[in-house]
């Protein structure tokens, strides 16, 4: 086989290999949606973050606007400090509230942002004041059980 033919085949092979990698990165992975656009960092304190993980999405009105970049424990207030990057395209008022929500009944957890009415917008490094912790299923069930028990007692006392 002539050397130039071998070169052509190897060139085609290498090109196909890189095309395969590109296909994986763009079509299969999230590189396309992972734009290199600017982000700004916002922090929020939560009493309980449930099962929130680093890289969990930040959603507002169901649209992904950013990702959680860091989760730390504050040893003074005994709360969790969640740091997240919000895409610079999206501006939020300063009194925006953050909630930890669950997609589906038992799905992954994400941070939901609800815009407030302040005229000033959030800036890099600011902290959200209004937060709502994750709903922990065990707490919910025990609350429900205690309520039921209390109800039963009330109705017995009432008789």
């Amino acid at each position: 086989m002539k050397r130039s033919t071998i070169d052509i085949w190897v060139g085609a092979f290498v090109a196909a290999g890189f095309a395969g990698l590109l296909f994986l990165a763009l079509k299969v992975g999230n590189l396309a949606s992972f734009s290199t656009s600017q982000t700004y960092q916002v922090q929020a304190k939560f009493a309980n973050i449930g099962g929130l993980k680093v890289r969990a999405p930040i959603k507002s009105a169901g649209v992904v606007v950013g990702r959680v970049s860091d989760i730390k424990f504050d040893n003074e207030s005994y709360e969790a400090i969640v740091t997240f990057n919000v895409d610079a395209h999206y501006k939020f008022p300063r009194d925006t509230s953050a909630k930890i929500l669950t997609s589906g009944l038992l799905g992954e957890q994400y941070v939901g942002l609800e815009a407030g009415g302040d005229a000033a917008m959030l800036k890099e490094g600011e902290r959200l004041r209004l937060t709502q912790s994750a709903v922990v299923l065990e707490n919910l069930i025990s609350q429900f059980l205690f309520n039921k028990a209390a109800e039963g007692k009330d109705s017995k006392d009432g008789k």
Binding site: F13, A16, G20, L21, V28, G29, V54
Partner: protein
């Protein structure tokens, strides 16, 4: 001392065990020195890149058919099996995630590595072993041509370059096969198939780690292949034994390395 050899007692057993262990360790050390020697003498392979390109043709391009066809079929089977299991839980849209993650993380590098070991690794061993048996290697040394730089290093680098490309093509082809079966044949929603896949496959965590795995497997397989070929006894039996050892050892090495790499890559992230 003549009657010592067939000793069936404890001493004889220990002696055989010790001999087996020390010869294994000696071989391992020889293989490690050989690896360093290849790295030190790969200047020629990289400077006269034509040599390496020729070997990429033999170990990469000629492996394409088996890699692409197996990738397609593995993906199609994943599509069928995954759909069958997922639809029991009413989440057949997650088929894209299942196919993509299992291919990109595990099956792509591992199965492509196993196929590469048996298709290209065995050929490398047989070729080098036969060159040794027919004294071509010795002739090169006579002509003051370093056989490691001229014969071994180009094959080594060709394997290291080919393997990640083959694994990427395997994964891409497998995802295409999963798409064919899942979306075209069974009728999973096309938008959900791709968008769920994109939302849960991470470029760095999943795809890059898969590429790193395939590079490591490429190094391991070609290293074992060139070493076994160079170390083969210069007889017909020696070459055939070396070829068998290449396939067995590199398959086991791939599986063991895969376990170690998976433990390092995919459990650290989840612990956070």
């Amino acid at each position: 001392m003549a009657e010592r050899a067939p000793a069936g007692g404890l001493a004889g057993l220990l002696e055989r065990l010790g001999h087996a262990a020390s010869s294994k360790i000696w071989r391992l050390g020889y293989a490690a020195r050989f690896f360093v020697y290849i790295l030190l003498h790969s200047g020629t392979a990289l400077r006269r890149f034509g040599l390496t390109i020729r070997e990429i043709y033999f170990s990469g391009v000629l492996s394409l058919i088996i890699i692409l066809v197996s990738g397609l079929f593995v993906g199609m089977v994943l599509g069928l099996q995954g759909y069958d299991t997922l639809q029991r839980y009413g989440s057949s849209e997650a088929l894209g995630i299942l196919v993509a993650l299992s291919l990109v993380r595990e099956l792509g590098p591992v199965v492509a590595g196993l196929l590469f070991a048996s298709r290209a690794g065995s050929a490398i061993t047989a070729e080098i072993g036969l060159m040794k048996a027919t004294e071509q290697i010795a002739a090169m040394e006579m002509m003051a041509v370093d056989p490691i730089a001229r014969v071994v290093a180009p094959r080594f680098w060709a394997g290291v370059i080919s393997m990640p490309l083959l694994a990427a093509l395997f994964s891409a082809m497998g995802i295409f096969g999963g798409y064919l079966v899942g979306v075209r044949l069974i009728g999973v929603d096309e938008g959900a198939f791709w968008s769920q896949m994109q939302s849960s496959v991470d470029v760095r965590e999943d795809i890059m780690n898969g590429v790193i795995k395939s590079i490591v497997f490429g190094i391991a397989v070609t290293w074992i292949a060139v070493f076994e070929g160079y170390d083969a006894a210069p007889t017909a039996e020696g070459v055939s034994g070396a070829t068998t050892r290449t396939v067995v050892t590199s398959s086991l090495a791939i599986l063991a390395l895969d376990f170690v790499l998976t433990a390092l890559m995919f459990t650290g992230g989840n612990a956070r």
